[in-house]
Symmetry: C2
Subunit: 536 residues, 2 copies
């Protein structure tokens, strides 16, 4: 039958369930590991595989399916990052308890197949790029994966005080429908903060949003039509790439140099920017001048000036992602593009997510009045306005000086972690590995020796209890598969040191294998795989 249909059927035996029906199509465009992952997921969702079921070891399954072990391992890794399966050292891999619907919910009766939903969807893919924001990290794992603030320092009592105060004082106003441009008191507080940073904006130049992700979404709605060209950093924040890809625009990547020796600074390559602008009609430039995610690089003032001049010459608006800028851990702050902007061509997006709390969805957007009014209308038709309890609470948090206090504290914590991180990196990562030296933000970018693959490395690192995000997830094109992002801000100092020691030893082992074994089969790295890890 397999031969007749061109589909290979494998009936596999595993411990607790006798058969797992899997059929992989080697001739398909979809990479094998993705087929495997999707079929396993479907088996879980359909109840063929139940919580607690053991699935075959990757080596075992690879043998039976006659595919490479790393293919199986990659599929398993992705299923694990989704929380669908869980590996236990020495005990094998199991379907997670949390993968099934809770006990009191009825079984997923999907009133089968009356409508072919896939055929009705407007696009073959949706919101590709982020997926599970909060991956399940197995106990005991040291996860350098996130660029989220460290929750153990959240001043929960301060937030509670603020929420209490604003509900007591202005509860009715907060709970009633609000203005689509934002809660007045928050806008005033932000305008003051911005003035201190050299940005003299008035209230009609400021829009409150649900965060930078929404600001980007609104900007895409306001400016971008399918086919428009947008200059993006390469690598870049995947959430931005996700929006641009959904908007069907052409992303023109300009390289972010991570090696200081190639130009005087590590950061967006201005010659690349100039070349892109000269050869294309670019609609928008998207840039993160400070502590860029994922590379951690910062654009020097001279290059900011150059970028502004280039944008002016080509009459292209700049969207400045300012989300990490306030997390400067050493050195003097640089003027933002918006503060340097004399011609009103910069739209700055920012948020409380990194400096305070991402669970409160509040960010903002500063730009020319006409742009802000357009974004306001789009904001309104997107979700009317941003949650007012969060807005009012954060306004109070800023007004009472609590944000400043919290930021000071976090900057001390992160600065210490960065210091520890850098010492450990220098100590444990083998010669030949390079890394960026960010002065702030939350992550460091690591470049392995050519030929080493971060995706493959992750499989071995995971076995040793260390996680990171392979660099390829951040590239729009020309992925450098020998890169990876390490978030340093979310881990305790001891874990940073232990994790890097382990990681160093894994890299060392792989480098030695490489030197001995010559060329090995590579893991597939489809664009699509991006959607299975946490990249925020």
């Amino acid at each position: 039958m397999a031969l007749l249909t061109g589909i290979f059927w494998f009936i596999l035996a595993c411990m607790s369930r006798p058969f797992i029906p899997l059929h992989l199509q080697p001739e398909s465009d979809i990479p094998l590991y993705a087929q495997l992952r999707d079929q396993m997921r479907a088996l879980v969702h359909s109840g063929e595989l139940l919580p607690g079921d053991r699935i075959p070891a990757s080596r075992e399954l690879a043998n039976q399916l006659q595919i490479h072990r790393t293919t199986v391992a990659t599929a398993y890794a992705e299923l694990e990052s989704e929380g669908l399966v869980q590996g236990f050292v020495g005990r094998g891999t199991y379907i997670s308890e949390s993968s099934a619907p809770r006990e009191f919910t009825p079984p997923p009766r999907e009133a089968g197949g009356v409508l072919r939903w896939e055929a009705l969807f407007a696009d073959e893919r949706a919101g590709d790029g982020l997926s599970r924001l909060v991956p399940e990290v197995p106990e005991g794992t040291i996860a350098f994966i996130s660029a989220r603030p460290s929750e153990e320092f959240f001043p929960v009592d301060d937030v509670r005080t603020c929420a209490n105060a604003v509900l007591k004082r202005e509860g009715r106003e907060i709970l009633q429908l609000g203005a689509s441009d934002g809660y007045g008191p928050l806008k005033q507080v932000l305008l003051e903060m911005l003035r201190a940073e050299g940005i003299a904006a008035h209230e009609r130049q400021l829009l409150i949003t649900d965060g930078c992700q929404q600001s980007l979404d609104l900007l895409a709605k306001a400016f971008l039509r399918p086919g428009d060209a947008v200059l993006v950093e390469n690598p870049a924040y995947p959430g931005a790439l996700s929006i641009l890809s959904a908007a069907r625009v052409r992303c023109l990547p300009a390289a972010v140099e991570t090696n200081r020796s190639r130009q005087n600074y590590a950061g967006l390559d201005m010659r690349a920017v100039e070349a892109v602008l000269e050869q294309n009609r670019v609609k928008m430039i998207l840039v993160t001048p400070d502590f860029q995610n994922p590379t951690g690089t910062t654009l020097p003032v001279s290059e900011r000036q150059k970028l502004l001049e280039l944008a002016m010459r080509h009459k292209v608006p700049i969207v400045e992602d300012h989300i990490y800028a306030r997390l400067r851990l050493r050195g003097n702050p640089l003027s933002s593009l918006k503060a340097m902007d004399r011609n009103g061509i910069v739209i700055q997006i920012d948020s409380f997510s990194k400096v305070a709390f991402p669970g409160l969805r509040v960010g903002w957007c500063i730009g020319p009045e006409r742009v802000i009014e357009r974004l306001r209308l789009l904001k309104q038709s997107s979700d009317l306005h941003t949650d007012q309890l969060a807005q009012a609470t954060l306004a109070e948090f800023v007004k009472r000086g609590m944000l400043e206090k919290h930021m000071k504290r976090m900057i001390r914590v992160y600065a210490r972690r960065l210091e520890v991180f850098e010492k450990a990196v220098a100590k444990y990562l083998p010669r030949g590995v390079e890394w960026t030296r960010p002065d702030g933000g939350m992550s460091v970018w690591v470049t392995l020796p050519p030929g080493l693959d971060a995706g493959e490395l992750l499989i071995h690192a995971r076995e040793r209890g260390v996680l990171f995000v392979p660099g390829r997830y951040f590239y729009f094109e020309h992925p450098q598969t020998n890169t990876l992002r390490l978030g340093f801000a979310g881990l305790e100092e001891r874990d940073i040191v232990q994790g890097l020691a382990k990681l160093g030893s894994v890299i060392d082992t792989e480098m030695r294998k490489k030197q001995k074994g010559g060329r090995r089969a590579m893991v597939e790295h489809p664009q699509e795989a991006r959607s299975r890890v946490a990249l925020i």
Copy 2:
């Protein structure tokens, strides 16, 4: 010069500022009143007109510009609804104090004209349809304009108790980045509530959103391509029309009958639905079966069944807007389409906005798992996830029985108001005026005798201190200009009676004028004017 350029320049004298430069272009596509409004607004923004400046009386300006007085009055009315000008009975109309930037903000220096932003926008219009959500209502005015809950009954202390409890108990989790499908405890609470309503869904069939507006936006992103056909109620909620128009889909209107005598019920006309479905390839049906905004009509169970059958026959998904359904003020609740749906073709959207607090932006969406997963990805790339403090607070509010208590109370209040409203309507509105008899929701739909124009009526009503929303704002096409929406839920009983007495007398006067004066010049009613009033 005026003759040479084809532009009429009028130099006008008014009391406190000697000249107002206005130039109207009668030959333009833009209606005169809109030109006037926009130019006045520009004069305020540029500082030519200052807060406290008196502007000419509408009659005076109309004479000088040689245009109809209602044109000027309409422009003024819109500027007033924007909060830019303010009228005082007997004292004239003035530029509002709030129109200017606050004192400490620098003047709006827009770094003039380096980029032609309008040329960069992706579309000639954005998010048309809602505009100012919270219009400024002059003191002493009785405003039947909103369909918002009555804030004087907000149980602020209960909300504060809940916010406190959840921050104390799970503060760190709440403030940290969350799951894109929603906060777990809230999902569980909602699933329980839905089960009680005959909807057995599991957690992967439920997505938390920022409210129905966002649910609609996500549905449009998921399903609609430019040119797709969507069946909409006519009239309908303008926020939905706004999203559909931005998505460049073809809206195919099916009439909502407001006169019970034309069919056995007032509500969506099933013959119209059938005709649309038979003659078009419809991608989606958008319907509000209970207490539809704006008409207040409810679809009988037999017609719901018919709608489901029609949708099944034509294989078209139904999006059921359930936002008002829980506000049933009399009679027995009907099964929702989703509860009746045996084939998984209904996606139900709902929210806490009407039953609790619109300032907390939390709603949800129930549908087949494949649809919800698609929407989840889009939600994630739109704004990562919904605010967690709001989600957790509302989950607690439901769990503690506070929502039920609050709803019981509000239903008592609204039921009494509806009763008072209906008595007053019957007493004060002249013979020949018709209105719907909703059993719930927040608004009643009024039909004036043919030939009477609700837009014109509004000008006179405003002078008497009464506001309502002209019906034409709710139509996608074929606007019935003799209709209007009266929100009854947001006003105290005394105001309802007084307001309807005044409104009745204004209608009476206009009807008499009409009978005497024959045909009068009409106010322009461009689609575009929709964007200047509050329609939520």
